[in-house]
Symmetry: C2
Subunit: 112 residues, 2 copies
């Protein structure tokens, strides 16, 4: 998978991963792998800064917890994050509809 295909959709992925559960960064990466059937394998250098961005945008919040001596920063969605997630899902549907309108028919059977 081309890596710039993700452009503009990363936030939606992260928000969706945190929908309904609290996870720390490393676990988010693993959850993305699992849910995408192995297609998404995001490097830490992609995910951690993105989580920071989301936090400073007020869409997620985080807490430090020390588990077995290791520091883990656990994230969860804020109220605004849940709203943003809903908006992202709508935007995703509009986006795929637009692209598939073009990719779709190929020779394009006019109005159908």
């Amino acid at each position: 998978m081309k890596s710039d295909a993700l452009r503009g959709h990363l936030d939606a992925l992260l928000l969706a991963t945190l929908d309904g559960e609290r996870l720390h960064g490393y676990a988010i990466i693993e959850a993305l792998q699992r849910r995408s059937g192995g297609a998404l394998d995001l490097p830490t250098g992609t995910v951690y800064p993105a989580l920071r961005r989301l936090e400073s945008a007020g869409l997620v919040s985080s807490e430090w917890s020390t588990v077995g001596g290791r520091q883990r920063r656990t994230y969860r969605l804020t109220r605004a994050g849940q709203r943003a997630l809903a908006a992202e899902r709508t935007a995703w549907r509009e986006f795929t509809t637009a692209i598939e309108g073009v990719l779709g028919g190929g020779s394009w059977p006019a109005q159908a």
Copy 2:
């Protein structure tokens, strides 16, 4: 529509637009608007350089034709371009499957 959502999918759009018909740049932009239901309104500064890239990659070829004194560069898919389009369509399906695996269920009903 966020403009960077397009990132990495523009080539697929252009190739698909040229699938089965020969168009010049301006007409490609109009065709994209039409087929996407108005959602895609790409500026010339996006489309023209992209077409040049595709041409130097051997995926499209172009011919100058002078219509009423105006120069029009008409593009069409090459054989390699048709193969690339098929690959792009497959990649698109994989991409959306991956994203929807994450966005999809929300609280994620495990295996279904």
